[in-house]
């Protein structure tokens, strides 16, 4: 077993593009779920709109990538309003049902045959992010520290991705220490109490849904850019639940919860993946138990086990406050 390689890959994943993308998606979801108490089960739908916003604009329509960003944002706000208008006056579970359905609708529309001219159908679109890589300030070569090395392109994506994460985490911090954030948290605790104190609960929930959705859209944009391609089936429901796992891992309603959660999530996935592969290859794990093709599933089983242990021994997540969880029992 090459431990240096395993550790190196795990660290590279912890700071990699996927970790940044999921940190962004989870920051948005944390605003919904952690701070406002909105059960959004369709965060991936917002991500898909960002990814398709830029790819359709560039690859299909031939406009600039930056217009694609605007299109993605406009679509995202529209989706948030469409989801919120009928459901935010109702109980929390209605939003959950509608959002999970909506995110699947987005995926099915994108992969439908009749949309092939626009979205590329089930094949998706590719090579639309050249404008992003054209402004890469890092000349060719390898960047990193010790075991962790990235290509110049990869390093550019990572730099932008983590800069966005830092900016949005800062924004969350400022918002949650403001009276606006106080209203959101009061809605999470008790909507009627917030109403009785003169707060327009419906409007605040809508603002939360729109802002969190936009952050999710930005995550989708970064994901599409880092891959230089979009495929509809990348944006299916498990992505939303990874984002939930990340929030719970890091600590719900904590500014850095999604960031730390995402880093650990991807590091663990990478660690179990490379470690299992090597163990199978070296014969430590006999093929009668599992072979190399089963590693992909196995790592999620192990991750699930890890999350279960976390829920038992540290239900508040890594950065969470135990006292808050205790209060939930009331």
């Amino acid at each position: 077993m090459n431990w240096e390689f395993i550790i190196g890959r795990s660290l590279a994943s912890a700071f990699g593009a996927d970790a940044a993308v999921f940190a962004l998606a989870a920051i948005g979801l944390n605003l919904h779920f952690g701070y406002t108490g909105l059960l959004n089960f369709g965060q991936v739908g917002f991500m898909a709109l960002g990814a398709y916003g830029i790819s359709v604009t560039v690859a299909t329509l031939g406009f600039s990538l930056w217009w694609g960003l605007a299109l993605g944002a406009a679509l995202s706000v529209t989706l948030a309003l469409l989801l919120g208008l009928p459901t935010l006056r109702l109980r929390a579970d209605y939003l959950a049902i509608v959002t999970i359905a909506a995110s699947e609708i987005v995926r099915f529309v994108a992969r439908s045959v009749s949309m092939r001219e626009i979205t590329g159908g089930s094949f998706g679109l590719s090579d639309f992010a050249d404008e992003f890589y054209a402004i890469n300030p890092f000349p060719g070569g390898s960047y990193g520290l010790g075991l962790v090395q990235y290509s110049a392109r990869g390093f550019w994506v990572i730099t932008v991705g983590w800069t966005l994460v830092a900016l949005l985490a800062l924004m969350t911090y400022v918002l949650m220490h403001s009276p606006w954030g106080r209203v959101l948290r009061s809605i999470r605790e008790d909507e009627d109490a917030a109403r009785s104190l003169g707060k327009n609960v419906y409007s605040y929930k809508m603002q939360s849904l729109v802002v969190g959705g936009l952050i999710g859209t930005l995550a989708g944009v970064m994901y599409a850019i880092s891959q230089q391609s979009v495929q509809p089936d990348t944006y299916s429901t498990p992505v939303t639940f990874y984002a939930y796992a990340i929030i719970i891992l890091g600590g719900t309603a904590r500014v850095f919860g999604p960031v730390l959660g995402s880093m650990i999530f991807w590091a663990l996935l990478s660690f179990t993946d490379t470690a299992l592969r090597q163990a199978v290859a070296a014969g430590y794990i006999p093929t009668a138990i599992m072979d190399g093709t089963q590693v992909g599933q196995m790592r999620f089983i192990l991750l699930g086990l890890g999350l279960m242990l976390l829920m038992i021994f540290r239900p508040q997540g890594i950065l969470g406050d135990r006292r808050e969880i205790a209060l939930d029992a009331h």
């Binding site: 924004m171 400022v174 918002l175 220490h177 403001s178 009276p179 606006w180 954030g181 106080r182 209203v183 948290r185 009061s186 999470r188 605790e189 008790d190 009627d192 109490a193 917030a194 109403r195 009785s196 104190l197 003169g198 707060k199 327009n200 609960v201 603002q207 802002v211 006292r323 808050e324 209060l327 939930d328 009331h330």
Partner: protein, 303 residues
């Protein structure tokens, strides 16, 4: 005992006009399926007074509260608050117009601190708009002013040492205090308390009663739902009685205590009437007379 003199000029009958009403309700009905939960023809609430709303379980008191505060919509009817029509207004606007309520089941915001609970109550906060929230210098001064006001109130309600605790760690009685103090942060004209004393230990009841009386001293009007008649007699200037959705009686606490209709509503119309001392004596005398007559008859027969 009520000290106000306005009650002297008011006839104690349902729907009677008050000299200076702050809240006037007309023809409000609310049905739940076949049940008419609220059916109020006309009622007025005096400004600056403590009015108790009493009635047996299921009388429609809380539903009536919910309608007035915008938490439920009536099937018909209208009401004005301070001359302004409030019917059909959503709950948060009702609160902003100075009509603030508390809840029967206390709604402390558990995972917010006591101080955050208080600050939430302040209205017209600049930092509650998304764009301004991002620029703290725009709202920091206002936040400090609000915090000062909150501190004063917390001191009055003896919650100042709990300031930084999560509201969820407070006892039931402290939560009632917090909810009342938080309602005052809205700077209301009328405070509507839904069973403020429910689940509060007797020691704290006196302090809560004191706070309710203070509201009147400070010029606020109070409307409260309560079951404990001792509490009602102690603090209210006027009592409105509901039964089966209707206002069946109104008057001073003393008048209400003797009202046949109120006793009927609470105990049912066919209950056994307790006998007075005179009646009892009369019955005894009658029985004695009958016995005397009987024994006299027997003596006659024997002789």
């Amino acid at each position: 005992m009520p000290t106000d003199t306005w009650v002297d000029g008011v006839t104690p009958e349902p729907g009677v006009a008050k000299p200076d009403p702050i809240l006037v309700v007309d023809g409000v009905t609310r049905r739940f399926g076949g049940l008419k939960a609220v059916d109020v023809e006309h009622v007025e609430f005096q400004r600056g007074a403590i009015t108790a709303l009493i009635g047996p379980n299921g009388a429609g008191k809380t539903t009536f509260f919910n309608l007035l505060t915008g938490f439920d919509k009536p099937d018909a009817g209208a009401w004005t608050f301070d001359g302004r029509t409030m019917s059909g207004m959503s709950a948060h606007k009702v609160a902003r117009h100075g009509m603030v309520r508390t809840f029967q089941l206390t709604k402390a915001l558990s995972r917010l601190t006591v101080m955050e609970n208080m600050k939430l109550g302040a209205t017209k906060q600049r930092g509650e708009s998304f764009a301004k929230a991002l620029l703290p210098p725009l709202w920091r001064q206002q936040e400090r002013d609000i915090e000062k006001r909150a501190n004063d109130l917390l001191g009055r309600f003896k919650l100042d040492n709990k300031r930084h605790d999560f509201a969820g760690t407070l006892s039931g009685g402290q939560r009632k205090l917090l909810e009342m103090a938080r309602a005052l942060m809205v700077q209301p004209d009328i405070v509507m308390l839904d069973e403020p004393m429910a689940g509060v230990n007797p020691a704290l009841t006196q302090s809560l009663l004191g706070h309710v009386k203070d509201l009147r001293t400070q010029g606020m009007s109070v409307l409260f739902v309560e079951h404990d008649m001792d509490v009602v007699r102690d603090i209210s200037d006027w009592v409105v009685v509901m039964a089966e959705g209707k206002i069946i009686s109104e008057g001073t606490p003393d008048h209400i205590g003797q009202d046949r209709k109120v006793i009927d509503a609470y105990l049912g119309a066919h209950h056994d009437v307790p006998t007075s001392a005179e009646e009892e004596e009369e019955q005894l005398a009658n029985a004695q007379a009958a016995l005397d007559a009987e024994s006299a008859e027997r003596e006659q027969l024997q002789s």
